[in-house]
């Protein structure tokens, strides 16, 4: 009988000695190939007597299985080694910079962000948003708003005009967002609660004035809203917008043709090296004008001033943006300097929400 133990020893030695896939394959062929040593042993089984076969069979098959397992294990070793070797050549310099995400580079303008912020605040108080055209009639911009013809009040606002039409009328660029008030009152029935953000124009240019700027108008018309409500709304707005717990406000009587009584509103602040803190200090900063809608304006818009009443306010969007975010010069808003826009602008996914915060 053949010495399977000896053969196994030799084969396992040969497997262990194989240096690569090819020599391992040679060992496999020598053992299990057509003319292999184990194949030869298996062939002998057929010639044996049943008893002998019973005795030899398990021994030879066991040998075959163990050699196969050893071959597979050795093959795995080679595979791992090859992979190892390949991986060793595949390194990259992970310190190389990647492209910045588009959403990290892109910006929305502070004006856009501030309009979204104030829309969010006023929407929560039940206000809708209305809009009107930039090119307006004298009637909507002035006359319906109770600016008497040739009254010095018209000269408070340096108006851009277009050339007169054949009938003598001339259009103008709206000097404030108040004509949207008129358009809203003429097209909707009270109760009205709207804000009207938009572009406005005046013939004026210096560090705090540009020929084009942005305003937001607010108007409430119903049967009971009064100055006390107006004060409350503006106080709530200022707290929410400036994201502070407390704002000291000062309401000063003033004059606008379209409101009576008219007020100007200052907020208390402390200015320190270009930084503004609200709710402290002893500077008063004017932020808006407001008042009860003038009875003549209500009449001009087809409403009975004894039945309906309400209030309106208007403030500079650019101005409150400057106050909140600390830009020093209004002109820079319109210069499109990418350094300024990248610095003061907002990331596209920084959508202001009441739940998540307006600016953070």
């Amino acid at each position: 009988m053949p010495d399977t133990a000896q053969l196994e020893l030799e084969l396992l030695r040969d497997i262990a000695a194989a240096r690569d896939e090819a020599s391992l394959e040679a060992v496999r062929v020598a053992a299990l190939g057509k003319n292999g040593s184990i194949t030869a042993l298996l062939k002998t089984l057929g010639t044996l007597q049943p008893e002998e076969r019973k005795a030899q069979g398990p021994s030879i098959n066991g040998l075959k299985d163990r050699v196969n397992a050893a071959l597979a294990a050795r093959r795995d070793e080679f595979k791992s080694a090859t992979l190892e070797a390949r991986l060793n050549t595949e390194g990259v310099d992970v310190t190389l910079p990647v492209r910045e995400t588009a959403a990290e580079i892109g910006r929305v303008h502070p004006i856009t962000q501030v309009i979204d912020e104030l829309t969010t605040i006023f929407a929560d108080m039940g206000f809708a948003v209305a809009e009107g055209p930039d090119i307006e009639t004298d009637d909507y911009n002035f006359t319906k708003l109770n600016f008497p013809q040739d009254h010095p009040a018209r000269e408070m606002q340096d108006t851009f005009f277009f050339n007169p039409k054949p009938d003598g009328s001339r259009l103008l660029l709206r000097t404030h967002t108040s004509p949207v008030q008129v358009r809203t009152m003429l097209s909707q029935k009270p109760p009205i609660r709207v804000i009207c953000p938009g572009r406005t124009y005046r013939c004026d240019s210096d560090q705090t004035h540009t020929p084009m700027f942005h305003q937001v108008e607010g108007v409430v018309i119903d049967k009971g809203s009064h100055l006390g409500h107006l004060k409350w709304i503006l106080a709530e707005f200022c707290k929410a917008f400036f994201e502070v717990d407390h704002v000291n406000m000062r309401f000063r009587p003033s004059f606008f043709p379209f409101t009576e009584p008219s007020l100007e509103v200052d907020i208390q602040c402390r200015r320190d090296k270009g930084e503004i803190r609200f709710g402290e200090g002893d500077d008063w900063l004017e932020i808006l004008g407001c008042g009860m809608v003038h009875p003549n304006v209500l009449k001009n818009c087809g409403l009975d001033p004894d039945a309906y009443q309400g209030f309106a306010w208007g403030m500079g969007i650019d101005r409150i943006a400057m106050l909140k975010y600390g830009m020093a010069d209004l002109r820079a808003f319109f210069e499109a300097d990418v350094r300024w826009l990248s610095h003061y602008g907002f990331r596209p996914l920084d959508l202001p929400t009441l739940a998540g915060g307006l600016s953070s």
């Binding site: 930039d134 090119i135 259009l171 124009y201 409350w232 709304i233 309401f251 000063r252 990418v338 996914l349």
Partner: protein
């Protein structure tokens, strides 16, 4: 602007309140204090001093070396060049470190021609008291050395400047301001009655009003035998303090009453007036040299006062030079008239004159004060210049309606949310000069003649609120009610908002550029209509309402490039104008990319990608903006070509059918760039958000049910050789059309021309995704569909499978 001094205010208001308290109250009752010029502080370093000794300067003929006794310490050495500097005189000394207002500089210790000077003896010029800088100020012997000069000279009166709102004509007067303060409990209003001056002879000059619509009334008085000359110190000081130049007593009286009472008057030198006066419209061609020395050409809009020789005065705006009063005037005519405010405003604007008289007349003066003002002026002239007064002559009538407002007391609560008891309300109104009649729920409020701004109930509410104090109006929570919490933006606002965020998320930076562009740029971008040209642009290059946002953005990109930032991607979502009607204003979403500002990364990078920006970058931006704003992606069609400002071969149009063009994209035409003074490479897109079809409102927010096929999709690739002119979109559509049900998608994965492809042709490779619907497809079925695709493409585009 209304200016006055504290001492002047106290002529009309008996008060113990401090300047600060008065100023705060003024602001809080609607007379906003713009500035307080505290002269006492400005003049504090200037003290009265005695020149103890004056010696000739060793090195200069015209200079003297003075030893000045300032009342404390040793005498101080001062080098002085004034001819009147001499030993024993008294003058005004200022030490080094002090601010010299007349020279707008801070004084330093100096060495003048080798001699040290430790201060200065000043002239009136250095104190800004006059233009006199010939010699230093000389004070009488009894002037107290060491004391404040300003206090001694009475020039330390603080000047208060009010930013007056145009409705308050009554507060163009110190008198009116004092009345408001007294109503606000800041003192007792001194309102003594004005005594009439008894005329001793009839006024020899008659007045005829030919334009009663412009001049309701006119009063005149002659004073004979006056002695005109400089007005007294107190009067000069009043005027100087608020920035007016004293002229002579007669003129100064009118200027004083203008500010003291808000009542402009005019004085004529009677000797220079020929015959009687007529108030009439000017005649075309007439001219007048006014008191400002300028000659004005007049027309029939302007109201004038004329004598028999011609125009003598621009009514209510400015007097004429020829009949002005000089120190030689002996007979003076004093005019107190009423002028129609609108005409004064129009005429003043037309003539370009801003005078104190115009400022008051256009706001409306107190008609009832016409005659009292004349009496007041007459008395002052008699007091200062002597003379014999005539009787008044009055043409027209100064009577004005005295409006009475029917005022429900509840109105205060209704409009202001403020509760004020009637007695308190009455007290406030009556101190302001109103008269309140009645008790109970409705009262009658009579409006004083000096308050033309008070016309209705709301005005009365304002009077009470501003005096009681807006601070007393309680904050009242504003209930948002039960209105449903729905979105509050209009469709266009929502589109604007989404387009902005989508573009910023593609690395573009939002700019806000002027709504105006230069005329030639407007024309270049399809605009330039005369109706959109401003009549009064602020600058020549800001003349036209923009037809497109592209020129503004290109200019902005170029400015950035010039600063060293070449690779910029900018966008703006804003208004464009194609006419002057409200419906002609549209909202454009526009973006540009310059140089290497690619959507997948800006600038050079070690992971090299495709180099400069191209039309497809702009196309991708345009589609992103549209889809974000709610455009149906599958319905958007791309056609070749765009308006003339784009490159003819590298631009496209986005449309939904040929009738609805949403916008354009592409490279800008080289000629456009040249005309805009800009360098490329530059690509742009512009889409109009209003053109996006409105989506149908759905009754539910639930999305359509998800329809997934259980069968695996099959992908087949085809490469077709087509003529170069064939559009990829047509080929894709042809393939898609082979079976709309089974073909789920077609993408172009390669376009090739060159070696292996006949010249004039190109190869387009597409991947077709076949999605079996109800069963797995057999190979034969797939082959049949592939053949159908090849057939469709061949039929519609002439394409043949690449061999």
């Amino acid at each position: 602007m209304m200016k006055f001094t504290l001492a002047w205010l106290k002529e009309h208001l008996d008060t113990d309140h401090s300047l600060g308290e008065l100023a705060d109250k003024l602001t809080m009752i609607g007379l906003e204090v713009e500035r307080i010029e505290d002269k006492a502080k400005l003049y504090a370093p200037f003290v009265i001093a005695r020149v103890a000794d004056a010696k000739q300067h060793p090195n200069a003929d015209r200079l003297r070396v003075c030893m000045v006794d300032t009342g404390s310490g040793d005498p101080i050495q001062v080098v002085c060049g004034a001819p009147n500097a001499r030993a024993g005189m008294k003058g005004v000394f200022v030490p080094p470190g002090a601010y010299i207002p007349g020279k707008d500089m801070t004084l330093q210790v100096g060495t003048i021609r080798g001699v040290e000077s430790r201060g200065m003896l000043v002239s009136e010029f250095e104190l800004q008291l006059s233009d006199d800088h010939e010699g230093i100020i000389e004070l009488p012997d009894d002037a107290p050395v060491g004391k404040s000069f300003a206090h001694y000279a009475g020039i330390d009166d603080p000047v208060i400047e009010i930013n007056l709102t145009p409705n308050r004509s009554d507060c163009t007067a110190v008198h009116g301001i004092a009345r408001d303060l007294s109503a606000a409990d800041m003192g007792v209003f001194k309102d003594s009655a004005i005594q009439a001056v008894r005329g001793e002879f009839p006024c020899p000059v008659a007045v005829k009003i030919e334009a009663p619509e412009l001049c309701p009334a006119f009063a005149l008085r002659l004073i004979r035998g006056v002695k005109n000359g400089p007005s007294p110190d107190w009067l000069q000081r009043r005027l100087t303090a608020i920035g007016l130049r004293p002229i002579n007593a007669l003129v100064d009286v009118t200027n004083f009453i203008t500010y003291d009472r808000g009542r402009p008057l005019h004085v004529f030198d009677a000797a220079k007036v020929r015959g009687n006066l007529t108030v009439r419209r000017a005649r075309a061609g007439e001219t007048l040299t006014a008191l400002d020395g300028k000659t004005y050409a007049l027309d029939d809009m302007v109201c004038v006062i004329a004598d028999e020789a011609g125009v003598e005065s621009l009514s209510g705006i400015m007097g004429g030079e020829p009949t002005g009063c000089s120190e030689a005037t002996t007979d003076v005519l004093i005019e107190s008239a009423l002028w129609e405010p609108k005409n004064i405003s129009q005429s003043g604007r037309k003539l370009g004159i801003n005078s104190d008289a115009r400022y008051r007349f256009e706001r409306g003066v107190d008609p009832a004060f016409m005659l009292p003002a004349l009496e007041l002026a007459s008395q002052m002239v008699l007091d200062l210049c002597g003379g014999t007064p005539s009787q008044n002559t009055v043409a027209g009538s100064a009577e004005a309606p005295e409006p009475v407002i029917d005022f429900p007391v509840s109105e205060l609560k209704r409009l202001a949310g403020l509760t004020v008891p009637l007695p308190e309300m009455r007290r406030v109104l009556e101190r302001l000069g109103f008269f309140v009649a009645g008790q109970g729920e409705r009262v009658k409020v009579a409006v004083p003649s000096w308050r033309p701004d008070v016309q209705g109930k709301a005005d009365v509410v304002e009077e009470v609120v501003r005096i009681v104090g807006v601070d007393h109006v309680p904050l009242t929570p504003f209930d948002r009610g039960e209105a449903p919490r729905k979105p509050v933006l209009t469709p266009i606002q929502t589109r604007t908002r989404k387009a902005k965020r989508a573009l910023a998320a593609r690395d573009l930076i939002e700019a806000v550029t002027w709504s105006f562009v230069p005329h030639r740029q407007a024309e270049l971008f399809g605009g330039g209509k005369s109706e959109l040209v401003l009549a009064n642009p602020i600058a020549a290059e800001l003349s036209d309402m923009r037809p497109s946002l592209i020129p503004g953005l290109v200019a902005a990109a170029q400015r950035n490039a010039d600063r060293g930032f070449a690779d910029v991607a900018l966008f703006e979502v804003g208004q464009v104008f194609c006419g002057d009607a409200p419906g002609d204003q549209f909202t454009a979403a526009t973006g540009i990319r310059r140089a290497l500002a690619k959507p997948n990364g800006i600038g050079r990078h070690w992971q090299k990608r495709d180099g400069a920006v191209d039309a497809f970058d702009a196309k991708a931006d345009a589609l992103a903006a549209l889809v974000a704003a709610g455009a149906p992606a599958s319905a958007l069609q791309i056609a070749s070509g765009a308006p003339g400002w784009f490159h003819p071969g590298r631009s496209g149009t986005i449309q939904i059918g040929p009738q609805n063009v949403l916008g354009h994209f592409g490279e800008l035409h080289p000629r456009t760039l040249e005309a805009l003074d800009a360098d490329g490479p530059l690509v742009a897109f512009e889409v109009i958000l209003e053109r996006i079809p409105e989506q149908k409102k759905k009754p539910t927010r639930a999305k359509a049910a998800l329809d997934l096929s259980p069968f695996q999709p099959v992908e087949r690739d085809f490469a077709f050789v087509v003529e170069q002119s064939v559009k990829a979109a047509d080929l894709v559509r042809a393939a898609q059309g082979a079976d709309r049900k089974l073909i789920a998608g077609v993408t172009v994965f390669d376009v090739y021309e060159g070696k292996g492809i006949e010249p004039g042709k190109k190869s387009i490779a597409i991947a077709v995704t076949i999605q079996p619907r109800d069963r797995t497809m057999t190979d034969a079925e797939i082959e049949a569909l592939a053949a159908k695709i090849v057939g469709e493409v061949g039929k519609r585009t002439g394409g043949v499978l690449r061999g």
